[in-house]
């Protein structure tokens, strides 16, 4: 698909997500979940008129949201490339170092996108924590919802890094993805727990 997912109506995107093609898949959905989270934080900040740092937090949240949307498209594209290369490699009957090198590169790109999505999830959750603490109390539940979405997006993305064939268990990329997932989950657990 040309362009990016922002050019689609929400219904069209959901249709594509449930269609039997390759992309968009879990990574794209995780990225958009993080984007939803970030935009929700921006809303809480904008509505918190007595919070001095609200403008700055809103700007950061929007920047995170924009990056996440870009990644939703990038992830779909690199994942499709990697899967196609993987199928070609599986179908090949003889060893081909050039093809194997290309596959390695594509797997690396397919791990880089969800790794960044997980990191954005941790950042969105950190902003949600600030919004819950300093924002208008009326919107505290929205800040907690944003943290939960950020944690969901980060967890999904970290899982995609974990199952990537080019990533081994001691790989520093996996450690970074898991650290992002943990950071986002910690915030979400704290904010969701605080009103129980």
């Amino acid at each position: 698909m040309d362009g990016d997912y922002l050019e689609l109506r929400l219904g069209e995107f959901l249709e594509r997500l449930s269609a039997d093609g390759l992309a968009p898949g879990g990574g794209s959905a995780a990225a958009l979940t993080v984007a939803f989270s970030a935009r929700l934080v921006a809303m809480v900040a904008r509505c918190s008129v007595r919070w001095d740092e609200a403008g700055g937090v809103s700007a950061q949240a929007n920047a995170i949201g924009e990056r996440a949307v870009e990644l939703s498209y990038t992830d779909g594209r690199v994942w499709e490339d990697a899967l196609t290369a993987l199928r070609d490699a599986e179908a090949g009957e003889v060893e081909d170092p050039k093809r194997d090198f290309a596959l390695e590169q594509k797997l690396e790109a397919a791990a880089a996108a969800p790794l960044e999505i997980a990191s954005l999830g941790a950042d969105a959750a950190a902003l949600a924590a600030l919004a819950a603490e300093h924002g208008d109390a009326t919107y505290r539940a929205d800040a907690a919802a944003a943290a939960a979405l950020a944690a969901g997006g980060a967890s999904a993305a970290a899982h995609l890094v974990r199952v990537n064939l080019g990533v081994h268990s001691a790989d520093p990329r996996l450690a970074r993805a898991l650290a992002s997932e943990q950071a986002a989950q910690d915030v979400a657990a704290r904010l969701l727990d605080s009103r129980r």
Binding site: G56, D123, A126
Partner: protein, 176 residues
């Protein structure tokens, strides 16, 4: 930072008129990205055409600086020179007279203008503020990466960026 970097545009123009090489270097340094951005982003010229415009505009600045009536209006004057030169380049490509070419990318041009104003305001902030805003908004670094590299607790990064953005907004408001 050289002493020329702190000069106002009017002071810079006076330095250039006095054939001060340092002032000329600063003028090129200060406006090279601006001219290139108008050509490449505002008019979407190819790298090669944008480079031609760039060379030509700075040659014209050098030879015609005496014709600038208000020394503090250096930026609008450079913008006008650049736009005219870009229109010529577009007309030459389409083989039509320059007056028949319109500034189609006017929203892109205002983006370039706005970006330049932000850059100027950014230069007025403290170095730590410039650094942290550059890391987050230009280099897309995560809070964790910024925290690790600057040895600041991760939780304070977002607040610090927000405060620096507040200062940037004050600078922009003061300029306008």
């Amino acid at each position: 930072m050289s002493r020329y970097a702190t000069l106002t545009d009017a002071e810079l123009v006076r330095g250039c008129r006095a054939d001060d090489a340092g002032a000329w270097n600063e003028l090129v340094e200060r406006y090279s990205r601006y001219v290139y951005a108008i050509a490449a982003r505002g008019f979407r010229l190819s790298d090669e055409d944008a480079e031609d415009v760039f060379q030509d505009v700075f040659t014209r600045i050098y030879t015609r600086l005496d014709s600038l009536r208000d020394d503090s209006a250096l930026r609008p004057w450079i913008a006008q020179l650049t736009r005219r030169r870009c229109l010529d380049a577009v007309a030459a490509k389409r083989e039509i007279p320059a007056e028949e070419v319109t500034e189609e990318g006017s929203s892109d041009l205002s983006d370039v203008e706005e970006a330049f104003e932000v850059r100027e305001a950014l230069a007025e902030l403290s170095e730590p503020c410039q650094d942290i805003l550059d890391r987050f908004f230009t280099r897309d670094q995560s809070y964790k990466t910024i925290a690790d590299e600057l040895e600041i607790p991760s939780g304070t990064i977002a607040s610090r960026i927000a405060r620096c953005l507040g200062r940037l907004r004050n600078e922009l408001e003061a300029k306008n």
